[in-house]
């Protein structure tokens, strides 16, 4: 069972001292600090949880925190997280605080090499100096050094040219700190800081352009994320989560389960499992306050909120007893593969362990990606020491290994009976999800086109650079 760390919230300093005294049990064998530094390290620990460093830097099931080795699926290939323990040889033990900050905010390693933005430095760059300091103290003094180097990232050419990220950063990295908006409440500002600088919600939920940079014009409007889809979480009542109450959002972030609305799977389940469930209630409420006032972005194709679709089915009395060739294949497979848990009615189990299928965002969404991915890969979420698990139906499944056609048939039956009747799923859709989801332009282009684009962008970046220098000179 995961050890639950309850540490004083960084942004509500009033509790800090009292909590630090109460929470003396957090002292680790590797702690070199004491007194005020202890408090800073504890705050850094909390920040590391809020920033969800472990989601990528601790391999799933590993007993070695922050030793890296988790292959993050990207459209360009797997990007392996690195060892960020204070090991001098294998980790970040030799990093000065300045070098640490440089990696965190600008995505540049101690040796000068560029990180890929799978490491969300584009969000962490918003961190305050105090918080970067606290994170540094935590990693250096409280994290156990692990003396091993995980698998190295080896993207195919041309994406293996890390220097190209310098150009990318010049174009897309907004390297500035978080600035509170004086027109908003302190709580909304705190939520904004938590959501961006730490939880980096935008990394998944903000759509990206052809070069995989976040589109500044549509923050949190929803984006494809390999096989999963991170939905629109703006305040739009139809396309986003405007219809959710604060209590719904709070419960979702704390547990990943809001019966009759949504259950977290995939990377969102990981974020809840590793990060949100451990955050202070006040911090979660601040994030809710912030999310609820994010400007609505609406998609005119969306006719109703994703959680509003569907109703219980009475079909079993129609098909029970009929031979397989007398009912649709989708209905047959749904009954045999799904209905034992979700029930033929789609109502799920009374305790909610098996969620209901109607009034369910994964089923009612305008695209079926999350439904297909859930069927293929299942759901696993450990909250409060209790694991919620749905097995996937991909290769080697403990239930059944289903084909693209099988999953398309089941998905269409589920959409028609419990979800968004406008959604149609083809075996090719399933095949695409199985192979890692839709790829952005940069990943679809051939090995020759991308260097050409990089050269062109380099020229563009240089031009912008000189233009800015010139205009600054002109102003001076």
């Amino acid at each position: 069972m995961k050890q639950k760390h309850r540490i004083n919230p960084p942004l509500s300093g009033a509790f800090a001292l009292a909590a630090a005294t109460v929470l003396g049990f957090c002292t680790s064998a590797y702690a070199q600090s004491n007194g005020p530094d202890r408090n800073i390290a504890q705050r850094g620990h909390y920040l590391a949880i809020a920033a969800d460093c472990a989601a990528c830097h601790t391999a799933p099931g590993s007993t070695q925190p922050f030793a890296g080795g988790y292959g993050i699926a990207s459209p360009l290939g797997s990007i392996y997280s690195t060892n960020i323990t204070p090991s001098k040889e294998h980790g970040i033990g030799n990093y000065t605080e300045k070098e640490f900050a440089h990696a965190l905010r600008e995505g540049i390693r101690r040796d000068g090499a560029h990180l890929y933005p799978a490491m969300p430095y584009t969000s962490y760059t918003k961190l305050t100096d105090d918080d970067v300091h606290a994170l540094y103290v935590y990693f250096m003094s409280e994290v156990k050094p692990v003396e091993s180097t995980p698998q190295k990232t080896a993207l195919p050419f041309p994406y293996n040219i890390r220097a190209s990220m310098g150009i990318w950063n010049a174009l897309f990295l907004d390297d500035t700190r978080f600035r509170p908006d004086p027109s908003k409440s302190a709580e909304v500002n705190r939520g904004h800081y938590l959501s961006y600088a730490l939880a980096h919600c935008d990394t998944c939920h903000t759509p990206r352009n052809a070069m995989m940079a976040e589109k500044g014009a549509s923050p949190l409007a929803g984006a494809s994320l390999s096989s999963w889809y991170a939905p629109n979480i703006t305040s739009d009542p139809v396309s986003g989560i405007g219809g959710w109450s604060s209590e719904d959002l709070f419960r979702y972030l704390k547990t990943g389960d809001v019966p009759g609305k949504a259950q977290a799977g995939g990377p969102m389940a990981e974020a809840i499992e590793h990060s949100f469930q451990y955050l202070d209630d006040a911090d979660i409420r601040a994030m809710v306050s912030y999310i609820k006032q994010v400007p609505a972005i609406s998609d005119s194709k969306d006719k109703a909120a994703r959680e509003s679709y569907g109703k219980a089915s009475g079909r079993e009395s129609v098909y029970r007893g009929l031979p397989a060739n007398r009912i649709s294949r989708g209905e047959y497979l749904f009954s045999g593969e799904c209905a034992a848990c979700h029930r033929p009615t789609g109502q799920g189990s009374p305790d909610g362990y098996y969620p209901q299928l109607f009034h369910n965002t994964a089923v009612g969404a305008p695209i079926a990606d999350n439904l297909i991915t859930t069927i293929l890969m299942g759901v696993r979420r450990e909250v409060n020491g209790h694991t919620t698990y749905m097995p996937g139906f991909g290769p080697g499944s403990y239930v059944d290994s289903l084909s693209d056609q099988d999953i398309a048939d089941i998905s269409n039956y589920v959409e028609q009976n419990f979800g968004n009747p406008n959604v149609r799923v083809t075996p090719d859709d399933v095949k695409l999800i199985r192979s890692g989801g839709p790829k952005p332009l940069i990943a679809r282009l051939g090995a020759l086109t991308v260097p050409a684009i990089i050269v062109a962008l380099a020229g563009l970046a240089l031009a912008i650079f000189f233009f800015i220098r010139l205009s600054r000179k002109a102003k001076a």
């Binding site: 029970r320 007893g321 009929l322 397989a324 047959y332 497979l333 009954s335 045999g336 593969e337 034992a340 848990c341 189990s349 362990y353 098996y354 299942g378 696993r380 694991t387 698990y389 749905m390 097995p391 996937g392 290769p395 080697g396 499944s397 403990y398 239930v399 059944d400 290994s401």
Partner: protein, 552 residues
Amino acid sequence: MAKPDFTSSGDVSADVVVVGSGVVGGMVANELAAAGHSVVILEAGLRLKRAEYVENWRNMSFHNRLHSDFQGLYPQSPLAQAPLYFPPNDYVGLSGPNGSAFKQGYLRTVGGTTWHWAASCWRHLPSDFEMKSRYGVGRDWAISYDELEPFYCRAEEEMGVSGPHDKALQSPQERSRPYPRDMIPFGYGDRRVAEIVNPHGFHLVPIPQGRSMEPFGDRPACCGNNNCQPICPIGAMYNGIQHIEKAESKGAVTIAEAVVYRIDTDENNRVTAVHWYDAHRQSHKATGKTFVLACNGIETPRLLLLAANARNPNGIANSSDQVGRNMMDHSGVHASFLANEPLWFGRGPAQSSCIVGPRDGDFRRDYSANKMILNNISRVAPATEQALKLGLVGKELDDEIRRRAACGVDLSISLEPLPDPENRLTLSKTRKDPLGLACPDIHYDVGDYVRKGLNAVTTQVKEIAGLMGGTELRITTDYNANNHIMGGTIMGRDPKDSVVDGNCRAHDHANLWIPGGGAMPSASVVNTTLSMAALGLKAADSIKAAFARGQA
């Protein structure tokens, strides 16, 4: 990843050829594929989806469900029959004083019979390995409990077994490692019966089970559908198909609808190839370095006899004339009664707890041990049948069904036959399967050892029913089969009176292993699957060692 080589005509060659795709074949294939060997698995039956079995079961008639038709929902390959009883297909011809006690329900399908088992994962007791030297009856194994114990541990880990961490509830208590998961918690009925009967020496313990209350790796948690038999609808129960899939992920290839019928041997009596018929009755050949037969207790001896060749005229591995002899099963009876209080059996998995007090003791010199499973399959169906017979209607009928379902107790009692060479599987002279291969005939007599054991059972059951205020006590009069088929390829140290050695390697053929229930020289009273799996893992280790020595 090592892969078998296929020719354009459909022949295949591999380091290891495994015949049979059940729990034993799957585990052996997985071990050897993991060790880097190319593996091909030949399975006589079909490969179908779980959903198909689930829907067939749900669509089955009340009569078949009530009388436990666990075979009928599994579609059979037209060329590879297995027993059916609704109505009987007489694929296995039964004779002898207790022929009807050998109506086995086994599957010929990819994944094997653990599709419809109850996932009970018992170990034999140390004494079960030494029946002859301790009690002067039956046979000793060629290996001791201690030699098999590490493989019991590994089998439990492979199958994700939940069993009691409390030593007092373990049977046996001799263990080198804990169960991978703690016991499935007792239901109300189990707890209540334990309170009542345990003070009288009956010792109700949890059944170790191949399922768990939390996910076991990628296997989902059991949620108590209560129809483990004949199909777990959600994959929470261990099924042999899970090891087939694991083996395949490591390069093993399974060929379904491949009925093996012939075995080639060379001048040193090493096996060189097996031949199979495909779904179109075309014959193909699988050559290999090592061969494993894992077709369960009836099809393995049948194949060995069918495959007799010039050098082995009595059948493969049969110089001892013991192939097909010593056939055993836990011939059993059912005892049912209505307790004087509601116990609500039928919640959770199909089997939950078991009385093991009479599992061992010096009495075994004279008569059979027994174990009594507190059957946890819902009592609603039998309660309904009984209430309907009373001629009730309306609310009275509902109330009576409810009362009988709540208070009904069913004990599934297993006895221990001794290995008897006269209990024998032979090839039918008259009945052939659709490929023209002889069907199996089995002559069976439970023996006086079991009959005397049943007298003790009757006394014990009456005491238990009495303690529970039982009425309508019924003990079945015919022995029933329990699908725990043993003995037909019996293990021993002496090649003159046994078929395989302590590693389940055939005495007659240096590169042929025959692991599984057929090797077991004593039946004990407990379900055989875990012992079969442990023997399979031990065989796999000995095959790996033989490869390492260049002898495989």
